[in-house]
């Protein structure tokens, strides 16, 4: 019997468990998944909770329900990876040997890393929306927010779903308009970047979207602390942004066992070959999804596209062949802008988001880098696709590699 061990039952881990279980001979292979959480969260849905569009029930399912019956699910936390011995030790002392290991332990928010986030105003006037609890608490606060300065700010790169805070300010604009109090609310977008986004063409389009919605962008702002007493953000170069309600994207970090095992960077993300997702020195260890330190977005779409490639490669490796497929950094994200419209971006390591159509060249139905109703419906329909196809490891009618077909080259 050979063992495949998967750490993490999120998007990446569940998808791989499903794909490998279907493909491998059950008499020869045992697949085990380890995750401390017994709940699987549909994380893209967290964005809609503060505005009352989704409820708790829309974004949770029991994790075990999304993993095949023949796969062993262990609800536990990882203490240490001993890659030289092909062994993983859990915090409860149990240890597991593996032939192949997939690390899919994701990224978490680390509000404790920035002074003042967890201060007296935490969950009173200072919130985050990257956890279910945080998003639900913010929904309650927004209901009673009738006037003042709403500040949305990012502590540092990289963070999960890099368009989410942009979507958040646009949806906030829409939310206050619907409540008829938009003119009483000022909205600020505070970022450590020099503009709205990292990639120039999308940045231009997104800053226009924000300007049209009267959202003020404060750039190159690197947060040192949250001053609870005077209700303001303070940067390392001593600039200040006052707020009445702060929604912050805290520093993102990888899993703690990564640090304990000495295999990560300073944020506990794991450096891997960006095309094969293999750890150097340990070709039987792969890192999929947000846990990997690769130069693309931390997003479900990346986990999905990279997972398709990784699955093909693992099947080759198991059969003693050389892995053929190379992950190109493909990422795509819907960007909700409120008013029932959304944009869509599609890009990879080498190509920045460009205008065009997706996934069918010239047809769509989705339009890249423009605001359409169909893009918005695509985002909403994606929740069904996620629960029923994506995490179950079913093939979606989109290519894992980014395609230039249907894209317009502009500069």
């Amino acid at each position: 019997m050979k063992n495949i061990l998967i750490l993490g039952a999120g998007t990446a881990g569940s998808m791989m468990a499903n794909k490998l279980f279907r493909a491998l001979d059950k008499k020869e292979w045992k697949i085990t998944v380890v995750d401390p959480s017994s709940t699987h969260y549909y994380q893209p849905g967290f964005l809609f909770i503060p505005f009352g569009k989704y409820s708790k029930e829309d974004v949770i399912k029991p994790a075990a329900q999304l993993i095949p019956k023949g796969v062993e699910f262990i609800s536990a936390e990882v203490q240490l990876l001993q890659a030289a011995e092909n062994k993983v030790i859990l915090t409860d002392g149990r240890s597991f040997a593996y032939d192949y290991l997939i690390i899919a332990t994701g990224a978490r928010i680390a509000p404790e890393e920035t002074p003042g986030i967890l201060g007296p105003l935490w969950q009173k006037d200072v919130f985050e929306f990257y956890t279910l609890e945080g998003a639900l608490a913010l929904a309650e606060r927004l209901k009673n927010f009738n006037a003042g300065k709403l500040v949305v700010s990012i502590v540092d790169m990289p963070f999960k779903c890099p368009v989410a805070p942009i979507e958040f300010v646009c949806l906030a604009d829409d939310y206050f308009k619907r409540r008829g109090i938009r003119e009483k609310v000022e909205i600020f977008y505070v970022t450590p970047l020099s503009g709205a986004f990292t990639k120039p063409i999308a940045a231009k389009m997104l800053s226009q979207v924000m300007q049209e919605r009267n959202i003020q962008i404060i750039s190159d702002f690197y947060i040192e602390r949250v001053d609870n007493e005077n209700k303001k953000l303070v940067s390392y170069d001593e600039r200040e942004v006052p707020f009445d309600l702060l929604t912050i994207v805290p520093l993102n970090k990888g899993a703690d066992f990564v640090g304990r095992s000495g295999i990560g960077d300073e944020l506990n993300f794991i450096p891997v070959d960006k095309h094969t997702l293999q750890m150097s020195h340990y070709p039987n260890v792969f890192v999929l999804g947000d846990a990997a330190a690769i130069p693309t977005s931390k997003a479900g779409s990346v986990a999905h596209f990279a997972g398709e490639i990784l699955f093909e490669n693992i099947m080759h490796i198991i059969q003693g062949e050389t892995p053929k497929e190379k992950f190109d950094g493909h990422s795509n994200c819907y960007i909700e802008v409120g008013g029932g419209k959304a944009s869509l971006i599609d890009f990879n390591y080498d190509t920045e988001p460009l205008p065009g159509t997706y996934p069918v060249p010239g047809v769509g139905p989705f339009k890249l880098l423009s605001l359409t109703r169909i893009n918005h419906w695509g985002k909403l329909a994606f929740r069904w696709i996620y629960w029923n196809l994506l995490v179950k490891g079913r093939t979606l009618p989109v290519s894992a590699h980014m395609s230039m077909k249907g894209k317009k080259i502009i500069s």
Partner: protein, 103 residues
């Protein structure tokens, strides 16, 4: 891409003034470029520039946070030494490409 004569040498720079060939860098070039930005380089500045060059030339991705935990400067000092966008400015003066943040 353009050529620029600075500190008695000819160097290659891109349209934002970043050097495109890190091996052309000298301490004198850094000092002259810093003057153009209104900064007089001190030993502390040079220590940061040397650290950035060492890491960048070894292929490591640099972040503001990483420099803050380098043991050479803390983040507050880093901002004081290279005001505005410290990582961009320090990279420019260190003769390495402009840091790109990937989403």
């Amino acid at each position: 891409m353009a050529e620029k004569v600075i500190a008695g040498r000819t160097i290659q720079v891109n349209d934002e003034g970043y050097m495109t060939n890190p091996s052309e860098w000298t301490r004198e070039i850094a000092a002259e470029m810093a003057k153009e930005e209104g900064i007089t380089l001190t030993d502390k500045h040079y220590a940061v520039l040397e650290y950035i060059r060492e890491k960048a030339l070894a292929g490591e991705t640099l972040t503001i946070r990483k420099i803050g935990s380098s043991g050479i400067v803390d983040l507050k000092e880093f901002y004081q030494l290279f005001p505005g966008g410290p990582l961009k400015l320090a990279s420019k003066l260190a003769g390495i490409p402009k840091p790109t943040s990937c989403v």
